[in-house]
């Protein structure tokens, strides 16, 4: 008997697949030497349509495909998140390949594929589907990372990412197999009921560690962070942006599902471990970031430290911690994408990602300088910008759960991170420019920069509705343990 499928729950994934397939057809039909970036334009229109459609679907909930696919408030929140992120990434891609001029069409297709992967990750309720969706996401990221065939750094980045990513996938499968061995299922709900009855055994602990290693690879937590700096630096900048926001967020949904629902009953066992890992991750990321001279590497290490801050929410193990993760990621989306938009425009104009070349940016383009300043200050967590309230929520979560020492370490980290962010801000605003030519910002990017700035400032000041959304996403979560 074939199970009944509720197609309305998977509407987003189905629509994205249809778009993807039709774009493939368009790509074949289009003349090879077409000047206009048709695929890019179609992608934009399709994405705009999808966002409008998706915002009306907030009330979707339920499971389908025999319970493998779940649509709940958490999935809705994160799919909205991915769609918004994709708008920025598509715009970055258009700019990026305008200057490169070749083979851009396949890149758009890969981006759409990555989007399907991320959306499926958000909706997985079974380890097998989760594994497949992670692979869809990661494999498209491998290809995109190594996309610049003539650039040695890009190839090297792709290779590193592929090898370490394959290792992580191996860990993940190995972990699932152990879990299956003990619980006789890969389904989240079955494993959750198992955890509620049984205490943690060495075998399940081993499985949990292996699975966490794979997730830690995605979110770039120490000690699974080795790939970050080189890949961030070598990958085409739109991919770096996607890695730092989309891929990290995908990792955190898995983390939320793992630790707040499936293994929620074992909080006492993993809480402290996550807290220690969080402290090490944020400290390592910040300490190493201090010595970077390349802006993409700097943001790479900074992204490791942010994974550390976000892990505080997981360590807290409460609804407040999970909402804190959601809110923080929402702020991180606008903040980090704003920074990468500036990096793209700057690198197209100057062919450089070196921080030293950012000297005097404020006199070459006040919009770029202002955006970068706001993004960096928000990453550091200063009010009235969004990064402050995110850190505030997470600090509150860990203090509430009794990890005062973790909060103090986070406080020290905020100071360390402020140092290197302000060093970049100093370059931009204080140092004299090496070249005085003005940098012209295309009007579409200008619009996105303004949107990102508004996101950073408005969410930072009017936190209420966004915090409510972040909390609602957790409260309506499938199999919630909170």
């Amino acid at each position: 008997m074939f199970p009944v499928i509720d197609w309305s729950l998977v509407s987003l994934e189905v629509l994205i697949s249809i778009i993807l397939v039709s774009l493939v057809v368009v790509d074949i039909v289009l003349p090879k030497n077409a000047d206009k970036d048709w695929i890019g334009i179609f992608s934009f229109i399709a994405l705009a349509g999808l966002i409008i459609f998706w915002l009306t679907q907030g009330s979707l909930s339920g499971t389908t495909f025999s319970g493998m696919f779940v649509m709940d408030s958490l999935a809705w929140f994160f799919k909205t998140f991915f769609l918004i992120a994709m708008v920025f990434v598509f715009a970055m891609t258009q700019e990026f390949f305008k200057s490169l001029g070749e083979r851009r069409n396949e890149f758009y297709l890969l981006l759409w594929l990555a989007l399907i992967g991320m959306c499926l990750v958000a909706s997985s309720a079974d380890f097998l589907l989760l594994f497949i969706s992670i692979e869809i996401l990661t494999i498209s990221l491998y290809v995109m990372t190594a996309y610049l065939k003539s650039d040695a750094l890009s190839i090297e980045a792709g290779m590193k990412y592929l090898i370490l990513g394959a290792l992580a996938s191996g860990f993940f499968l190995y972990g699932i197999s152990f879990l299956y061995g003990t619980t006789h299922s890969t389904h989240f709900s079955v494993i959750q009921s198992y955890c509620q009855i049984h205490a943690m055994s060495p075998m399940t602990l081993f499985a949990l560690v292996l699975i966490f290693a794979a997730v830690g690879f995605k979110i770039a937590a120490v000690p699974f962070h080795m790939w970050v700096a080189d890949v961030y630096q070598g990958a085409p900048t739109p991919v770096t942006a996607l890695l730092s926001v989309g891929s990290k967020a995908a990792g955190f949904i898995i983390l939320i599902r793992l630790f707040f629902s499936i293994f929620g009953a074992w909080h006492a066992e993993w809480g402290l471990a996550l807290a220690i890992l969080s402290a090490i991750t944020m400290t390592y990321g910040n300490l190493v970031a201090m010595f970077q001279t390349n802006i993409k590497r700097l943001l790479g290490y900074s992204s490791i430290s942010h994974a550390g801050y976000l892990l505080m929410g997981a360590a807290a193990g409460t609804a407040l911690g999970a909402s804190g993760i959601n809110f923080y990621l929402l702020g991180y989306l606008f903040t980090n994408l704003a920074a990468f938009l500036v990096i793209i425009v700057f690198s197209i104009a100057t062919k450089s990602d070196e921080i030293a070349d950012y000297a005097g940016l404020s006199q070459r383009s006040s919009l770029l300088a202002c955006t970068m300043l706001l993004a960096l200050v928000s990453l550091a967590g200063m009010p009235p910008l969004v990064g402050f309230f995110g850190k505030f929520t997470l600090l509150m979560a860990v203090i509430k759960s009794g990890y005062i020492w973790l909060a103090l370490i986070a406080g020290v980290n905020i100071v360390i991170s402020l140092y290197y962010y302000l060093m970049v801000a100093k370059r931009i605003y204080v140092d004299p420019p090496r070249h005085t030519a003005k940098i012209i910002v295309p009007s579409k990017i200008r619009l996105l920069l303004v949107i990102a700035i508004l996101g950073i400032v408005i969410i930072g000041i009017f936190q209420g509705p966004f915090l409510d959304a972040a909390m609602a996403a957790v409260q309506g979560m499938y199999l919630s343990h909170l």
Binding site: M382, F392, L395, V415, L422, K426, V430, Q463
Partner: protein, 491 residues
């Protein structure tokens, strides 16, 4: 009957800030004019608030309360009592003077005023908020603008000074934030509203063990901003290298936010812990007074003298905080006001001198009274005020603090009085070397502040010092109405 609307004090400058952002960068005269109006209006409102505050009724007045982030119990809650109405007045006068003396800034004028206005708005917000979250929020708004202002418009070692100052202050703020969150969580009230927490904790104080670890976090965190020894090293270099307006605002007002926070959030809410910890702070305060005073004696740079002097005077504020009696606490609030005006005035004057002579080194200066009699006279009066000469506000404040401290800390008070003597020595030395004696011939052509608009900022601040010094009741009634309730709750 009209009552002042406190939100206007925030919204009008925000509007002005918006206008400044919209004006093209080359229209500097227009920008200066808008900035002037932008700080004048909240100053007038602050005077109105101060005058309209009913000190007989006491308590928080002109209250506005709107829920902001409901799940956390954060609300946009504004209101003033005797203490913060006085702080508003201090900020209003200082910020007006700071914007007016910024005429001397010629480079990147637009960015300068934008950053300066953000700093001022943040500080207004902190003094108006009756919500602990929003106090912290506004208090931190100033951090990055101050960094940029020092790094861009400061003097020689500006980048080092900016980074040092910012990192120290943010480290302090982060520690204090953890303390404040812990306080919020341990009340169990699910609200950041100061008034609610005050009422609750007055009835049911927190367990002593909890108070004893939250209290030091808050006091240490804000103590760094208040240049508590040994965490004061950011201040002299920071104030020396900063542009004049920032030295004025920071030494005059921003630092006082920390004292304000310690009174409101630490001492009043956790009185038992205060009795246990504050004697230690009093001891450190004496080190502040004597040690920083002695260091100031050895300085040859006018701004460094003022910087160390400012650290030394914070010792009196901390000593007064440790007294737990009305007279001492009155003295603290009085001194916050008096020192704020005095510090702003002295930094403004030194800024004027530096701008004219391009040096602050006492070895090069000399005889400046001959070429700038007005500025020189003002500086002498500011120095007298600082040394606690009767007739100026600082005298009243310091005598109150010393009287308050006498009962509790006899020996420490003797050292505190010694500090006043040290202050007199280094300031008289500065006057003798800088303003008296033979005039360095290369300064013979320098001009004084001659026009009325140029003199106005100094006159305004000096007038406040003398007025409040001669008629202490003008502000003591306000202060007394609020300190009374605080002292009752900590007895």
């Amino acid at each position: 009957m009209f009552t002042p609307n406190l939100s206007l004090i925030l919204l009008l400058p925000l509007l002005g800030l918006g206008f400044v952002c919209l004006v093209p960068a080359d229209k500097t005269r227009l920008i200066r004019r808008i900035a002037g109006i932008t700080v004048l209006l909240p100053f007038i409102l602050s005077v109105w608030v101060f005058a309209a505050y009913d000190h007989v009724a006491g308590g928080f007045q002109f209250v506005q309360n709107t829920p902001w982030v409901v799940p956390f119990g954060i609300s946009y809650h504004l209101g003033v009592d005797g203490i913060n109405s006085l702080m508003l007045l201090l900020l209003g006068a200082t910020s007006l003077a700071a914007v007016l003396i910024s005429e001397s800034i010629k480079e990147r004028v637009k960015e300068y005023y934008i950053l300066l206005l953000i700093t001022i708005i943040g500080t207004y917000g902190a003094f108006l908020s009756l919500d602990i979250f929003f106090f912290y929020f506004f208090h931190e708004v100033a951090a990055v603008p101050v960094f940029l202002m020092i790094a861009i418009w400061g003097s020689e070692r500006r980048e080092f000074a900016a980074m040092k100052l910012t990192l120290f202050l943010v480290a302090g703020a982060a520690i204090a934030l953890i303390g404040l969150i812990a306080l919020y969580l341990s009340t169990g009230l699910q609200t950041f509203d100061l008034v609610t927490i005050q009422q609750q904790l007055a009835q049911h104080p927190l367990p002593i063990a909890v108070q004893n670890w939250i209290f030091p976090l808050i006091v240490l965190g804000f103590g760094i901003t208040l240049t508590l020894w040994p965490f004061y090293t950011w201040a002299p270099v920071g104030y020396a290298e900063a542009p004049t307006a920032i030295s004025m605002l920071h030494a005059g007002v921003l630092k006082k936010m920390a004292a304000y926070a310690i009174i409101r959030f630490a001492i009043q809410l956790m009185p038992q812990a205060a009795h246990a910890w504050m004697p230690l702070v009093a001891g450190l305060a004496i080190v502040n007074i004597v040690y920083c005073g002695l260091v100031a004696l050895t300085q040859r740079d006018l701004k460094y003298i003022l910087g160390y002097s400012s650290c030394s005077h914070m010792g009196y504020i901390m000593l007064g905080l440790a007294c737990f009696n009305t007279i001492g606490l009155n003295g603290v609030v009085y001194l916050m006001f008096a020192h704020g005006i005095m510090a702003a005035l002295s930094f403004a004057l030194v800024g004027f001198v530096e701008n004219q002579t391009k040096t602050r080194d006492l070895n090069e200066l000399g005889g400046l009274l001959k070429c700038m009699p007005f500025i020189g006279t003002c500086f002498m009066m500011a120095a007298f005020a600082s040394a606690g000469v009767p007739g100026f506000a600082n005298f009243v404040a310091e005598i109150l603090v010393l009287l308050g401290a006498w009962d509790q800390y006899r020996i420490l008070t003797v050292f505190a009085v010694l500090g006043l003597v040290i202050t007199a020595i280094y300031l008289l030395k500065a006057i003798r070397l800088g303003f008296q004696g033979p005039l360095n011939p290369k300064f013979a052509q320098l001009s004084d502040a001659s026009t009325l608009t140029a003199k106005f900022p100094y006159v305004l601040l000096l007038a406040l010092l003398i007025l409040v010094g001669c008629l202490p009741t003008v502000i003591l009634t306000h202060i007394g109405s609020s300190t009374k309730t605080i002292v009752e709750s900590i007895k």
